[in-house]
């Protein structure tokens, strides 16, 4: 026997033969995924079975789903369950056994039945959702909106819970100095008492509804199973029909509950709920500040354009007025230049008139007749017109052009 030695490979090959001989078929197996990783298109899983009462593992095995199969089963699984395969899920797998001398034992997955995973709990949740939708209350909360100035916050949480403490700190230490009023309505946040306790808190808030803007239901993260208390029809109905918007922050990403689905807004954690409320006020503050800026800008623009207009007019008006003045000057100058001309003309006319008269007068001058050879004979200074006037011996004076001479009548 001592000589009958094997190399590890030889021995493993024996195991491989035995496995292939003894487990030639494919089997459906129920198991929980404790690990699930995708690598190079293949999926590597760790399967586990826990004892129902002690919760300790009673079986464990690796499983692989080769790329070709994985590419087909994963989309189907996602479509049916609404989520990818992940640790914590219960699955029903079709497998065959494989023992590889180098890599050891694995179940090779050839199919996955997603309906199994949906499970009792999920089916129950779907049923609650269906009832809420049928009653027409499923979307009621989302028809509400978080008020612009949401500052008075009603909290439903376990007093002294870490999540509640984080929430309060975050709200109080906000960067903008917003002041929130936080009122706690303590409730049991896990186990069987969640439903009546949270409903009671909601009723207390309802009695003072005008004191609050928004309600937050808060709880630190925890195991998925702990959330089952939030998946009840009565609680969902109460939340869905509550007249104030409700923000839930009761778990982490993978822990979505029906409560989250019917709430106005769901966030992952209490701190995220605080951040949301701060953001809401900050957004409003921004809007106000923007409006302020816009208003100031608009007013400045108006003032500037009016000032510009006025100064344009201001420069224009004196220019126009001065223009009128200079026109006035011009007009006066024109008028002033006219009287001398008119007077000159009138005086010249009068001179001409006088000249004409004097010419007319000249024609009566006796000197003119004398120069033509006529003579005038005067007796005692009177012109002699009839020889009968004369007697011999009369002395006469005769005027000719160049002088006078005296004669005696014979």
């Amino acid at each position: 026997m001592r000589e009958d030695r094997y190399t590890l490979r030889q021995l493993n090959l024996l195991v491989r033969d035995a496995v292939e001989m003894q487990l030639p078929d494919e089997y459906w197996v129920e198991a929980e995924l404790s690990e699930c990783r995708e690598r190079s298109g293949h999926c590597y899983m760790e399967l586990i079975e826990k004892d129902a009462t002690t919760n300790t593992p009673v079986a464990r095995a690796s499983a692989k789903c080769w790329r070709q199969t994985w590419q087909m089963v994963l989309p189907y699984f996602k479509r049916t369950t609404g989520q990818p395969l992940r640790a914590g899920l219960k699955v029903l797998l079709r497998v065959y056994a494989q023992f590889h001398e180098a890599y050891g034992f694995s179940w090779i997955v050839t199919d996955i039945d997603p309906t199994y995973t949906l499970g009792d709990m999920a089916r129950k949740r779907q049923e609650i959702i269906r009832q809420l939708k049928e009653a027409g209350v499923f979307d009621l909360q989302r028809e509400l909106s978080i008020p612009l100035f949401a500052k008075r916050i009603a909290i439903i949480s376990a007093a002294g819970a870490a999540g509640y403490g984080d929430f309060c700190r975050q709200l109080e230490d906000n960067d903008y100095g917003f002041r929130f009023t936080i009122t706690l309505f303590p409730a049991i946040m896990q186990g069987e008492q969640v439903e009546p306790s949270v409903i009671h808190a909601l009723n207390q808030i309802y009695e003072r509804i005008h004191d609050f803007d928004v309600v937050c239901i808060l709880r630190g993260g925890g195991a998925t199973a702990d959330l089952s208390g939030f998946d009840t029809l009565a609680l969902a109905e109460n939340v869905a029909q509550f007249p104030l918007p409700i923000i839930t922050g009761i778990g982490h990403e993978r822990d979505e509950s029906i409560l989250d689905m019917v709430a106005n807004t769901r966030v992952k954690t209490p701190t995220a709920a605080a951040a949301l409320l701060i953001d809401n006020l900050h957004h409003v503050l921004n809007r106000i500040e923007q409006a302020e800026d816009t208003l100031a800008h608009y007013i400045n623009e108006r003032l500037r354009s009016q000032q510009q207009r006025i100064s344009q007019l201001a420069t224009l008006i004196p220019t126009l007025a001065l223009h009128t003045i200079s026109e006035g000057h011009h007009r006066i100058e024109m008028l002033a230049s006219r009287p001398p001309i008119a007077i000159e003309r009138q005086l010249t006319e009068q001179k001409h008139r006088l000249e004409r008269i004097s010419l007319q007068l000249q024609s009566f001058d006796p000197q003119l007749l004398l120069s033509r050879g006529y003579s005038i004979t005067l007796k005692d200074g009177c012109a002699v017109r009839d020889p009968k006037q004369l007697k011999p011996g009369d002395e006469l004076e005769t005027r000719v052009e160049k002088g006078t001479f005296r004669t005696i009548v014979k």
Partner: protein, 64 residues
Amino acid sequence: MKEEQKYEEALTQLENIVRKMEAGEFDIDELAVQLKTAQRLIKFCKDKLSKTEEELRKIQDEQE
């Protein structure tokens, strides 16, 4: 007491005198009197314009 004369009235009066002068409507006796009146009106209008101009420039300077 002499009333404060208005520019437009003075100008109209002046224009009338000039028009009549040019039409030879005044006789020689009147001519000198009318010329004196015309010159008084011209001076009045010029003064009025200069005064207004000065006022306008002052207002303009105050604005700038």
